[in-house]
Point group: C2
Chain length 371, copies 2
DNA sequence: TGCCCATATTCAAACGTTTGAACCGCTTGA
DNA sequence: TCAAGCGGTTCAAACGTTTGAATATGGGCA
């Protein structure tokens, strides 16, 4: 039919087919302000022909000319972590109304991939970048390039306001405290804690919150019941770590009635480890996780956890990015200060936590206090 | 510094800064064949300046000129389904070596979103489209537009070869048979089956495989123990469905020692339902799922399941797409016939399936044969 | 008749690249 | 001495849009 060198239908094709000039066709199809001056009959005719030919405007040419890509880059450190998904969905729903498209990239925890994607994002002229919680992000020297190219960034999952980057994260300290308080309120005093891996930013403040809450309650945490997850590697490393630590816990020979795990996958690992050792959850031991990801919902027993409002956080990050873009184009007030949002964690009680064993009506007789 | 109207550093800026023409700079930085003719000192100088300025080529301008977007669109029906993630990763790793980038979009099961994304994909001139298993895809009239614009499509998760679309899917029939065979080999005869929702393409052949295997083994499936999942809505609808059906199963009053669930989330729902009714898995009842998604791995007991090689399938789909693109550019042999690949399902035995209750050494005494 | 206004349409330049062809100054073999 | 060749660099046109300025057409009004 009317196609030219490239396989695509162009404005030129449509113009040729209906006898008007490229300009007119462009004005009509892009609904430019000028299109009010175009005769209604012409408009109709052009639209009709465009439809017949299956015309879709070329985003490259358009973006090149308009200098807007209508795209923002989303860099996830690992999509296979169920943690990322709700965030991505939130971002998407935040972008949708503004007709922006997320350019989603999964670094799969590979540093090299991360860098190369960051470069691609820059090349594709995304008007903003949202980074989902990445270890090493700040080291990368691409950050300088990003600044040179004036692309606004939002980071989700850690505080980089010190580097003048808008940051959004959960209030880890409050979350840690909330988790411990829940266990305390259920009457637990002998509580094992699994701290997060050292290279993860969340680990420290979460642990601080736990200690604070313990201090408030006059509880002294037994140091031998405090464990530390090894570094992360792969999506199930939290699970494996939790499982291994559960065994260590039992081997330690100290009594405990509850475990506060760093996150949900770790909690699920603990469930596995303790269950295999013959304990029952929550009758013999309560467990609480963190994040509230899908596996925590569908496991049995359902895992009590501290919920991160991931979707809301994603949404907000998208809105921030859009605002920053507007500012760059002079729409909104320019040069507002760098922002920080600490999302509020929320306790979700499911089946993995229950009153401490002694004197409970619900629990069956404890069969083994420990291995 | 040297920036011009757009906030970005352009070839022109670099040329200006180092005193060479735009052409030379382009030739050097894009490593065109001609760059061998450029003096080594010039090359070095240009690279140096480009680096200093933080130059990144504008993908729009480049793609416009080269008529290659180096991008393929990936349309997932719902990213929050853990099923999608390994596929996406597979696609990504298949695209990586060819330096193609996936433009990932999550339709979130919304028909309207799906259409608008499809349109965007077309506008962004992705050179190919991979669709992950979508109910209604074939209905959409955009399909005609896609054809008009000559963009190769691959669909993952159903057979659309009838519409001349390359298709990749699991051998559902073999998978269903495999699942049943596993239960039979463990000595189960009273087996409940949960069929998939009607609108899902996988449901029917999977059920056919089950019936075939049953017939082979001379087993007659009890019709009152065959259930049907209601239509899907949301990521946890499979779980909720399985849970509800587990209760119906018990209420039916018929003995059964195993459940063959449509997928893993359904299986997890069944675990929840039966566990709450006081049964133990697998001692009192074996359960097998389908897919092998993350929650099935980290649940306790781990869910025995039929694994789909999702990552491999994703990888293959990417390779197909790339091949089709090559063909369009005359590199590979043109016009090969439409392709179909049925991936081979694989049994993964975990903890949710065990020998049938009677006469087993492993199982504890069955406490309730049924509710 | 000439002038202005409104309406409907087109011109042409730009966006930032890539690339075939052209150019320039030198050497070199005939 | 000259044509040919070559290394190194630049010209200029194109890719498909958008858009401010320009054009053509036709009244209406003085």
């Amino acid at each position: 039919m009317g196609q030219r060198k490239s396989g695509h239908v162009t404005l030129h094709d449509v113009a040729h087919a209906c006898g008007y000039s490229v300009s007119t066709v462009s004005i009509v199809l892009s609904e430019a302000p000028l299109s009010q001056n175009v005769a209604a009959s012409t408009r109709a005719r052009i639209r009709e022909v465009a439809g017949q030919l299956g015309y879709h405007p070329d985003a490259f040419a358009r973006s090149l000319r308009r200098r807007r890509s209508q795209t923002i880059g989303v860099l996830a450190y690992d999509l296979s972590d169920p943690f990322c998904i709700p965030i991505v969905q939130g971002i998407q729903s935040g972008l949708q109304p503004a007709n922006y498209l997320p350019l989603l990239m999964d670094a799969q925890t590979h540093r090299a991939l991360f860098d190369s994607y960051l470069k691609m994002v820059l090349e594709r002229r995304t008007e903003g970048i949202i980074v989902i919680a990445s270890w090493v992000f700040e080291e990368t020297n691409l950050l300088a390039d990003i600044e040179k190219n004036h692309v606004p960034i939002v980071i989700l999952g850690r505080d980089l306001t010190g580097k003048k980057i808008d940051s959004l994260l959960i209030d880890n300290e409050a979350g840690g405290a909330l988790a411990l308080r829940h266990l305390l309120e259920l009457g637990h005093r002998r509580i094992a804690v699994i701290r997060g891996p050292e290279e993860l930013f969340d680990s420290e403040p979460r642990w601080a919150g736990i200690r604070r809450e313990a201090a408030n309650a006059g509880l002294k945490l037994e140091p031998r019941l405090v464990f530390q997850l090894p570094g992360l590697a792969g999506p199930t490393s939290g699970f494996e770590g939790g499982r291994a630590i559960a065994q260590q816990m039992l081997a330690a020979g100290l009594p405990f009635t509850a475990v506060l795990a760093f996150d949900d996958l770790t909690a699920l690992g603990v469930v596995r480890g303790l269950t295999h050792a013959g304990l029952r959850i929550p009758d013999d031991c309560s467990i609480i996780g963190f994040d509230d990801v899908l596996p925590a919902v569908v496991a049995t027993p359902g895992i009590s956890t501290i919920r991160q409002p991931l979707q809301e956080m994603g949404l907000l990050s998208a809105q921030w990015a859009l605002r920053a873009i507007d500012a760059r184009h002079g729409v909104a007030s320019r040069a507002s200060a760098v922002q920080l949002h600490r999302a509020c964690p929320q306790l979700v009680v499911r089946e993995s936590s229950a009153r401490a064993a002694q004197g409970t009506s619900r629990g069956r007789a404890k069969r083994k206090e420990r291995a």
